[in-house]
C-alpha cells in the first residue's frame, strides 16, 4: 500500500507522521487527541446511537452520519473517548481529520491496514495499534450500511 492510495487529508497526516522521529510521532498523536471535537449535544444525550469499539483498551464510541452538502452526500464522523485515554483519542482524531466530510466511496476505499503507515507500531505496540484498525473497520462497516439507506 502506498500513501497515494489515500484521500488527500489522510495522506497529508500520514506524511506528517512519517516525517518525524518516533518520539515526536507520539507528540503528534497527542496533539490529535487534543483536537478531537466533542460530540454535538444531540448525540451526547443519546449515547445509544453510538457503537462501541470493543477492540480498544478504553471505551470508545463512534457513529457516522451522511448529509447532503452542495448536492452530494458526505459522511461525518463522531467519536466519544475519555480524556484519560489519549492514545485512543489520538487515533480517533487522526481518522476524524483524515476522513470527515468525504464521500462514502472515498472512505470505503481507504486500505484496512492504513494505520500501519503512521509508523507508530513500535512506539505504541501492535496490541494498541489494533484498536485503531478496529476503529477504521467499524467506520467502514457503518458507512457501507448507511449507503444502502437513502441519505437524509
Amino acid at each position: 500500500m502506498s500513501i497515494s492510495a489515500l484521500p488527500t487529508a489522510l495522506a497529508e497526516i500520514v506524511d506528517d507522521f512519517q516525517a518525524l522521529e518516533e518520539r515526536e510521532r507520539l507528540q503528534l498523536l497527542l496533539e490529535f487527541s487534543r483536537s478531537l471535537p466533542d460530540l454535538p449535544p444531540r448525540l451526547l444525550d443519546h449515547p445509544q446511537l453510538l457503537e462501541q469499539v470493543v477492540e480498544c483498551q478504553t471505551p470508545l464510541f463512534l457513529t457516522v452520519e451522511t448529509e447532503v452538502e452542495e448536492g452530494s452526500p458526505v459522511v461525518h464522523l463522531y467519536f466519544k473517548a475519555p480524556q484519560e485515554a489519549p492514545t485512543t483519542r489520538g487515533f480517533a482524531g487522526v481518522l476524524h481529520e483524515g476522513l470527515d466530510g468525504l464521500s462514502a466511496e472515498e472512505i470505503l476505499a481507504v486500505p484496512d491496514d492504513m494505520p500501519d503507515l503512521l509508523g507508530l507500531t513500535r512506539a505504541i505496540t501492535p496490541l494498541r495499534m489494533r484498536g485503531m484498525s478496529a476503529m477504521l473497520g467499524r467506520i467502514k462497516r457503518q458507512v457501507a450500511a448507511a449507503q444502502r439507506l437513502p441519505a437524509h
Binding site: L26, Q27, L29, L30, S33, Q52, V54, E55, C56, Q57, T58, P59, Q83, E84, A85, P86, T87, T88, G90, R122, A123, I124, T125, L127, R128, R130, G131, A134
Partner: protein
C-alpha cells in the same frame, strides 16, 4: 540511606508497610527536594500517552510494553537492558523508587514486580495512584522532566522467587492458586477482559482448583488498597489461603495479578507468592494442560 517509610496508620497494619506511600507522604518528600536525588518517582500507565498529558512534577515514565518487555521474545528485558533503562531514568541501585499509575496502579504494580525481578531493594507504590493524586487536586505538569543519567549496575534477573512458569504451575497443584480475572473469564464464558481486545486464547476457563478473586476487589473506590482486615476477609476467608501458604496468582498476561501479588506479598505478608505471567494467554493455548470450566474451582487433576 533510603527515605523513611510512611508512618501512616492504615499502612502500619500491613505486613510490610514500607512498601506503600500515601499521596501526602509523596507531596512532602517532593517539597523537601526528594532527599537530594535519592527519590525517583516513576509513572507507569496502560495508556502510553497518559504521562504526556500531565504527570507528577519530576516523575519519569516507564512503559510496561515498550520499556519492560523484551522486543522479541515473550519475556522481560535482561540485566543489560534494565541497567540502561534504569540509568537513563536517573535511577541508581540505592534509589528509593515510588511508582504510580492509572487504573488503581494496575500497571505500576506490574512495573514494581519487574523491578523486583532485578532485586531493586527500595521500590514502593503510591497508594491510590494517579487518580487519587489528581482527585486531591495535587500538582501535575507537562514540563519535561530533566534527568541526569546515572550508572545502574548490570544485575541478572532472579525470576525464581516471584515468577512462576507453566511447568512451575503444573508442579504447584495441591497448593493454592488465585485467578484474578473477571468472573466471565474465570468461568470460560469469554477468553479476554470485558471491553478489551481479544488476545487469542483458544480455550476458556481456569486452572483447576484456582480461587476466583478479581484483582479490583483488593482496591477501594479511590484506588487505594483495602485495609488489612478487608484483604484478610478476601484472601483468607473467601479464597481460603492460610498463613504460610505457597501461592501462585495469574490473570491474562500477568499485569492484573501483579496488583494481587503485591497485596499478598507485602500487605498480608505471604513469603512465597509467585506471579504466573504466562497466565491465561499461555495456559488457554497450551497443549494438554488441565482446564476447569464454570464457576466451581474444580478437582485436583488426577496424578498430581
Amino acid at each position: 540511606m533510603p527515605l523513611a517509610a510512611d508512618s501512616n496508620e492504615k499502612f502500619s497494619a500491613y505486613a510490610h508497610p514500607e512498601r506503600l506511600v500515601s499521596t501526602q507522604w509523596l507531596a512532602d518528600a517532593l517539597a523537601a527536594g526528594g532527599s537530594e536525588g535519592k527519590l525517583v518517582v516513576v509513572e507507569s500507565d496502560e495508556d502510553v500517552l497518559l504521562y504526556e498529558t500531565g504527570h507528577i512534577p519530576g516523575a519519569v515514565k516507564i512503559d510496561w510494553h515498550t520499556d519492560l518487555n523484551d522486543p522479541d521474545a515473550r519475556d522481560y528485558i535482561d540485566g543489560n537492558a534494565f541497567a540502561r533503562l534504569a540509568g537513563s531514568k536517573g535511577i541508581s541501585r540505592d534509589s528509593t523508587i515510588v511508582l504510580y499509575g492509572d487504573k488503581s496502579n494496575w500497571w505500576a504494580a506490574y512495573a514494581l514486580w519487574v523491578f523486583t525481578l532485578f532485586g531493586h531493594e527500595d521500590v514502593r507504590l503510591l497508594d491510590g495512584g494517579r487518580d487519587k493524586w489528581i482527585a486531591e487536586g495535587r500538582e501535575l505538569t507537562t514540563d519535561e522532566t530533566t534527568v541526569t543519567a546515572v550508572e545502574y549496575p548490570v544485575v541478572e534477573r532472579n525470576d525464581a522467587p516471584i515468577r512462576a512458569f507453566k511447568e512451575d504451575v503444573l508442579a504447584h497443584f495441591g497448593n493454592p492458586l488465585i485467578d484474578v480475572r473477571s468472573p466471565e473469564e474465570y468461568t470460560g464464558q469469554r477468553t479476554h477482559m470485558p471491553a478489551y481486545p481479544q488476545e487469542g486464547a483458544m480455550r476458556g476457563g481456569h486452572i483447576p482448583t484456582a480461587a476466583s478473586i478479581p484483582w479490583a476487589r483488593a482496591a477501594a473506590a479511590d484506588g487505594t488498597y483495602r485495609s488489612r482486615e478487608e484483604l484478610e476477609a478476601l484472601y483468607l476467608d473467601e479464597a481460603g489461603l492460610k498463613p504460610g501458604d505457597d501461592v501462585v496468582a495469574y490473570c491474562r498476561i500477568g499485569e492484573r495479578s501483579s496488583h494481587t501479588w503485591f497485596a499478598l506479598k507485602y500487605l498480608l505478608g505471604f513469603d512465597t507468592v509467585r506471579n504466573y505471567d504466562g497466565s491465561w494467554t499461555e495456559w488457554g493455548n497450551a497443549v494438554r494442560v488441565p482446564i476447569t470450566r464454570g464457576s466451581e474451582r474444580g478437582e485436583l487433576p488426577v496424578g498430581r
